[in-house]
């Protein structure tokens, strides 16, 4: 964020939103991330900004029939079509800052 802000000339902008993409198959709990962010930016140049989180679904591909599916823990992450183990993950591992919304002062 600091690097990005320096490029934009930090003194002349106000960050409104930091838009994140967080996959379901990561070790990140969105509410904890929001709470931590809010605590971390108190009194800083990001104090008035907020985080938005777009959850990216956990999606795999059956290695037998190539169909995509949403792996479930209850089903041992196996494909419902062929009961195959999870090999390929299509999405769900994302941990990204997708975009930043800001205004010029």
């Amino acid at each position: 964020m600091e690097e990005w802000a320096e490029k934009k000339n930090k003194e002349k902008i106000v960050v409104e939103k930091i838009n994140l993409k967080i996959g379901e198959f990561t070790c990140v709990e969105p509410i904890s991330l929001i709470n931590t962010f809010n605590a971390a930016v108190l009194g800083s140049w990001l104090d008035s900004s907020e985080i938005t989180i777009e959850t990216i679904p956990f999606e795999g591909k059956c290695s037998k029939c190539n169909r995509s599916y949403f792996p479930k823990k209850e089903n041992g992450y196996k494909s419902p079509c062929c009961n195959f183990n999870l090999e390929e993950i299509i999405s769900g591992r994302e941990l990204k800052i997708a975009s930043i919304d800001f205004k010029e002062k």
């Binding site: 990005w4 934009k8 106000v14 409104e16 838009n19 994140l20 198959f25 990561t26 070790c27 990140v28 823990k73 041992g76 992450y77 196996k78 183990n85 999870l86 090999e87 941990l95 990204k96 800052i97 997708a98 975009s99 930043i100 919304d101 800001f102 205004k103 010029e104 002062k105």
Partner: protein, 226 residues
């Protein structure tokens, strides 16, 4: 005030860690040094595994250890008795090693020894099945331990750790006759999230499986050095 502008970034939140991990890996490669990241829950047997592994491994290869620990140097003290270079990394309140900490550990190791003479660097991560899985440190392979006293369901409860691992060591298998534990169910649960992982059953009491584990390491070192 002007209208809001949306700046598309698409930047990995952990990119600074990933960037440092890449730098660590370049260093390891320049030293021709294979790096393993050893991870598990607390008490699964990482330090005992290293003690026993290094006794035999040291006959054939030059090894060093970076020893991650939250508050003490107890594990590092155990390994120093083996007369190999050990650098403790005390993480304080952090529940995992990150690439910066490992970079710092490597700098301390460089003061102790010229890493050019080393074949393998074993990094013992902090005992935790969650965060270490997300933080690359520049390792070539990830090794996850799971002791049978933890239960068959752990690969389903902590899927990312077991998904990320290249090798899974099932530890404390000498306890199998005393526990109501289904090792086939455990293997099936591992396969469901990571069908490609190598699996070795080991016991530090009977030493069963250590030959396979040593062979796995030797093969990786020799292949890496080619």
């Amino acid at each position: 005030m002007h209208l809001p502008i949306s700046d598309k970034i698409e930047l990995n939140i952990l990119h600074q860690n990933s960037h440092q991990a890449e730098k660590n890996k370049v260093k390891f490669n320049n030293y021709n040094l294979l790096c393993l990241n050893i991870m598990s829950s607390p008490g699964a047997g990482k330090t005992r595994l290293l003690e026993m592994t290094l006794e035999d491994l040291s006959k054939e290869f030059q090894s060093a250890v970076l020893e991650g620990d939250m508050t003490t140097n107890l594990d590092a003290a155990r390994l120093e008795k083996l007369n190999i270079p050990v650098v403790p990394i005390t993480t304080g309140r952090a529940c995992h090693l990150d690439a910066n900490m490992v970079s710092g550990g490597l700098k301390l190791l460089e003061k102790k020894i010229n890493p050019d003479i080393l074949d393998i660097l074993l990094v013992e991560n902090v005992g935790n099945l969650v965060c270490p899985a997300e933080f690359e440190i520049g390792e070539h392979f990830k090794v996850a331990l799971l002791s049978i006293t933890e239960g068959e369901d752990k690969p389903l409860k902590y899927p990312i750790m077991f998904r990320e691992a290249d090798l899974i060591l099932i530890t404390k298998v000498d306890l199998l006759p005393h526990l109501n534990f289904d090792i086939n169910e455990l293997k099936s649960n591992i396969a469901s999230t990571n069908p490609k992982a190598d699996i070795i059953e080991i016991s530090s009491i009977t030493k069963s499986g250590f030959d396979l584990w040593q062979k796995w390491i030797s093969k990786k070192i020799l292949k890496f050095k080619k």
